[in-house]
């Protein structure tokens, strides 16, 4: 054997340690590295990505969790994700555009409609299905657009926002460069935002008098948020809907893994260090300040800054010295509710999509569109009341060999639904649900799937917990009720930085779950960390 330099695996200290290489952790590591800091990213699994990864079975490669990214946008109108990854970080990701918003099939409502991207096209589509709805839907979409624009206005930094104004008028005045003008601007730019922000989507829909059948066509994206319309805060809903309709949706050509591997590779190129199979067991603090981390295999690494791509549940519940955990932090953890996990059936079929009759990329299939009933069903161990299916070949035609198809069916499942499942019954339990979902899909679409399955894999909350370590296998962070919606989180952010030097990234962080919010929350956490370090970004 050659010379062996007995250096340790790690440097004595790092500018910042990122715990976890999921979307949030990679976003954080990348933004740190791009701005000249030298992060150490520690990941317990053997590859980057967290949920943004893929796996191979036979001649198929399945994306674990991605349906589509929002906030990417076309090359000439880049969204936040694309600006970050393409422009700031210089990555070359082969973005593929999803052709339509979704096909909605409501079997009990005689509804089968392909819903297009584009606000005007969206309104036209609903008018065609629900004649006479145009006026109400147009007004509704104008409001949504206004909310979306206001997020942009507030996001442009430094402006004394409605949050501060509502909470603390003196603070607003103090921070406003020209209080009268700022207040006027705020009402001009954010009036509708201020008036609708406290409400649930259902309350806004009622107030605007959306026809019931139009509301059904508008609502299926609720399953990307994970709580029903009568609890979901309106602004984040409006922002998401407009983002999808105006910017479209995208997936990387080689699954989400292409994006996360591109990010990790760039972090290393820029001098960051990433280590896999290396779980962080503890975050060290002293007198309310981060001082380092300890890995499961016993390395102590010094740092003043930790960005946790792990939930506050894990960080405050088991990674810190209990004596160092602020009471308020634990109380906030306990006040919030971990949102749904998922259940996914991944299938490689041995016939092409044309032959099978699969016409669209994304299907939302249900008997009816009642988000409250659908949400309640998510808590039970069964096939639930709404499924989202994707056929990747409709976006990436060569994602599988000629004459084959990749079809995935996803439903939400609350972790609790799986608490009582015994290991001996695990496979049968998941197979029974998978069989029911395949049947649902076949009946709704008329496509014969079952006889063409060449590869199949079924993932449950247990699977997600196994590979990512996510708290209770949750894939959707915390439930975004009005009081825990993104505006409410931003409003209270300053009071909820419990430990100096500790930021959160990913689905449990400020901006909520989903690929794009997670990526950008990592970036935001990095910028906050850089600011604390005194680095100008």
């Amino acid at each position: 054997m050659g010379e062996r330099k007995e250096e340790p695996r790690f440097d004595a200290s790092y500018d910042a340690v990122v715990v976890g290489a999921g979307n949030g952790g990679l976003g954080a590591g990348l933004a740190l590295a791009v701005n000249g800091a030298r992060p150490l990213v520690l990941e317990q699994h053997n590859i980057p990505g967290g949920f943004a990864t893929s796996f191979v079975r036979g001649r198929f490669e399945f994306d674990v969790s991605l349906h589509e990214l929002s906030d990417v946008g076309p090359d000439d109108r880049k969204g936040g994700v694309r600006k970050f990854l393409d422009d700031e970080a210089g990555l070359r990701i082969d973005w593929m555009r999803v052709p339509e918003a979704y096909r909605l099939i409501l079997t009990g409502q005689d509804m089968n409609v392909r819903v297009p991207f584009g606000v005007r096209e969206f309104i036209d589509c609903i008018e065609a299905e629900v004649p006479g709805s145009r006026e109400a839907v147009t007004r509704y979409m104008n409001l949504c657009q206004d909310i979306y624009d206001t997020f942009g206005y507030l996001g442009r930094g430094g402006k004394p926002g409605p949050a501060r104004m509502a909470r603390d008028f003196a603070g607003f005045l103090k921070n406003a460069s020209n209080p009268i003008k700022d207040a006027r601007d705020l009402f001009v730019h954010a009036g509708n935002f201020l008036r609708s922000a406290p409400y649930t989507v259902a309350e806004v829909h009622d107030a605007l008098g959306l026809p019931g059948r139009a509301e059904k066509i508008i609502s299926p994206y609720w399953c990307y948020m994970g709580i029903p319309m009568d609890r979901l805060g309106f602004p984040i809903w409006a922002g998401m809907l407009v983002s999808y309709l105006t910017q479209g949706a995208y997936v990387p050509r080689c699954r989400s893994q292409e994006m996360t591997m591109a990010m990790e590779s760039r972090i290393r190129e820029l001098g960051g260090q990433i280590e896999y199979n290396t779980r962080v067991a503890r975050i060290l603090t002293k007198k309310g300040r981060v001082t380092g981390v300890v890995t499961a295999d016993g390395h102590t690494i010094r740092t003043d800054h930790v960005i946790a791509n792990a939930s506050p549940n894990l960080v405050f519940g088991s990674m810190m010295d209990p004596a160092e955990v602020p009471t308020q932090a634990m109380k906030l953890v306990n006040a919030r509710r971990v949102a749904a996990s998922g259940f996914v059936v991944y299938m490689g079929l041995d016939a092409g999509p044309d032959e099978l009759g699969i016409t669209d990329y994304g299907y939302f299939i249900a008997e009816d569109m009642n988000t409250r009933e659908q949400y309640d069903a998510v808590g039970a161990l069964g096939p639930t009341k709404m499924q989202a299916a994707t056929c990747l070949n409709r976006v990436v035609p060569d994602c599988s060999p000629p004459g084959t198809t990749i079809l995935c069916i996803t439903i939400l499942h609350m972790p609790e639904a799986w608490y009582t499942v015994k290991p001996a019954d695990y496979v049968k339990t998941k197979n029974d649900i998978a069989a029911a979902l395949i049947k649902q899909f076949e009946e709704a679409t008329g496509v014969a799937v079952r006889e063409r399955i060449e590869e199949i894999e079924v993932a449950t909350p247990v699977t997600f917990a196994r590979y990512t370590g996510a708290f209770d296998g949750g894939i959707y962070g915390y439930e975004p009720d009005v009081w825990d919606s993104v505006p409410a989180r931003i409003m209270h952010l300053q009071n909820e930085r419990f430990v100096k030097g500790l930021e959160f990234a990913g689905g449990f962080a400020l901006m909520g779950h989903g690929y794009s919010p997670s990526l950008l929350s990592g970036r935001a956490a990095a910028l906050a960390t850089l600011a604390q370090m005194g680095v100008k970004s």
């Binding site: 893929s54 191979v56 922000a197 107030a207 591997m261 519940g317 196994r466």
Partner: protein, 408 residues
């Protein structure tokens, strides 16, 4: 000019901002400050998919002159109390220390899932290889009381009713018979709708194993499972079928192939042989399941392999965190073997390019990847991720190696 929209009345809307400003602090005040217990789903995940299992050999029996079955039970001294459940056909990756070198080997579990659950044991059957340094070591040093560290159950060579027809044909060669013992037991006990006809290729009567158990299972299952041994070099008193597992023989023993799902497990040359035989059946791909066969015995058989390099030894610069070291690597040995030989304890499980457990990043240099075992992701190929167990150096290399998984 955009329209001003009120939701429940202008004053009411402003008042309702309290939902954002006041409700959150109220809810926090009302919440418990006690830490939550550990999340149940993560605990369930560790039970079903443990990173490591501490086992102990509790019984040993010889199946043939060269095949030995080891019964493995949870090692009570290490605090282990149960075996993780598995699907019949799955394997365990065992960690073995030989003269300070830590290697892994995948062995199919040949006992039934019910045994793991109720009897709390696994069985594996190992065939002794002439001159094989590992089996030599096992024969010399493994006995009752030997402690073994194993992975959780892994692999995809199982009967999947969502995908497979219920009419199954097993084709086994050599030690490829072992997962079928588990499959036949499981089908007998737990899949009343399924049937399996197993054809085991052996050289002669001395290689037959599990024959009596298979006869018992056949009776117990009412004939749903049955096994035939096919001898390629039959002794004088052999009274069963002879020859190789040809298409004709398969049809004559298992019936016409239409609608059947074939499960194949055996050494690399057997797959090459069966590929040709099964071609005559014109089966859809979904009806043929092949177990991976571990590392290649000879990488030079592949047409694209640069044979002129076969005698070379290259150097691998290994980055293990901030540590940098160099190890020699023979061209015809998998990179995984070179890393193990250097004492680096690299992670691995399937040794067949399938599971991804040994994922490593290629920073510089060229590799030859076995076309039979190339389980790389598309993005992985683009960004240098490769599986050392199914990759061979064709130049000096520089790699970034992951540490072994820490079970704690």
């Amino acid at each position: 000019m955009k329209e001003k929209i009120t939701i429940k009345g202008e004053l009411r809307d402003l008042f309702e901002l309290r939902r954002l400003t006041h409700e959150r602090p109220q809810r926090i005040r009302a919440a418990s400050s006690r830490p939550q217990g550990p999340p149940p789903i993560n605990a369930l995940a560790r039970r079903i998919h443990p990173a490591a299992q501490q086992l102990e050999i509790v019984a040993v029996r010889d199946e043939t002159r060269a095949a030995r079955t080891f019964r493995l039970a949870p090692d009570a001294d290490a605090g282990a109390t149960r075996c993780a459940v598995f699907r019949a056909g799955q394997y365990l990756s065992l960690k073995v220390d030989i003269n300070g070198v830590r290697i892994t080997r995948p062995y199919s579990i040949c006992s039934s899932p019910d045994d793991a659950l109720n009897g709390r044991f696994y069985e594996i059957t190992i065939r002794r290889k002439e001159g094989g340094f590992l089996t030599e070591h096992i024969w010399n040093s493994w006995g009752e009381g030997t402690k073994i560290e194993a992975s959780g159950p892994c692999g995809f060579f199982y009967y999947e009713p969502l995908r497979d027809s219920a009419d199954l044909v097993g084709l086994a060669g050599g030690s490829g018979i072992t997962p079928f013992r588990s499959l036949m037991k499981d089908i007998t006990a737990n899949h009343p709708d399924a049937r399996m006809t197993l054809l085991c290729g052996v050289r002669n009567a001395q290689e037959k194993m599990f024959a009596r158990e298979f006869r018992d299972l056949s009776r117990e299952s009412g004939g749903r499972v049955k096994a035939y041994f096919v001898a390629s070099e039959p002794d004088g008193d052999w009274d069963g079928p002879t020859g190789f597992l040809t298409a004709d023989l398969i049809t004559s023993l298992a019936g016409p192939p239409e609608g059947k799902t074939f499960f194949i497990c055996g050494p690399q040359p057997m797959y090459n042989f069966l590929d040709k035989e099964l071609a005559a059946f014109n089966l859809p791909r979904r009806r043929v399941r092949r177990e991976v066969f571990g590392e290649l015995t000879d990488v030079t058989v592949f047409e694209d392999y640069p044979r002129e390099l076969a005698g070379e030894t290259f150097e691998i610069i290994v980055h293990a965190g901030r540590r940098v070291l160099t190890v020699p690597a023979k061209a015809t040995e998998s990179i995984l073997v070179s890393l193990e030989r250097a004492g680096l304890n690299p992670p691995s499980q399937c040794r067949s390019g399938e599971c991804g457990f040994c994922n490593t990043i290629l920073l510089n240099g060229g590799i030859f990847v076995s076309p039979e075992n190339d389980g790389r992701r598309k993005a992985g190929i683009k960004y240098g991720y490769f599986h050392p167990c199914s990759s061979y150096p064709v130049s000096d290399l520089e790699i970034k190696l992951n540490p072994a998984v820490h079970a704690g």
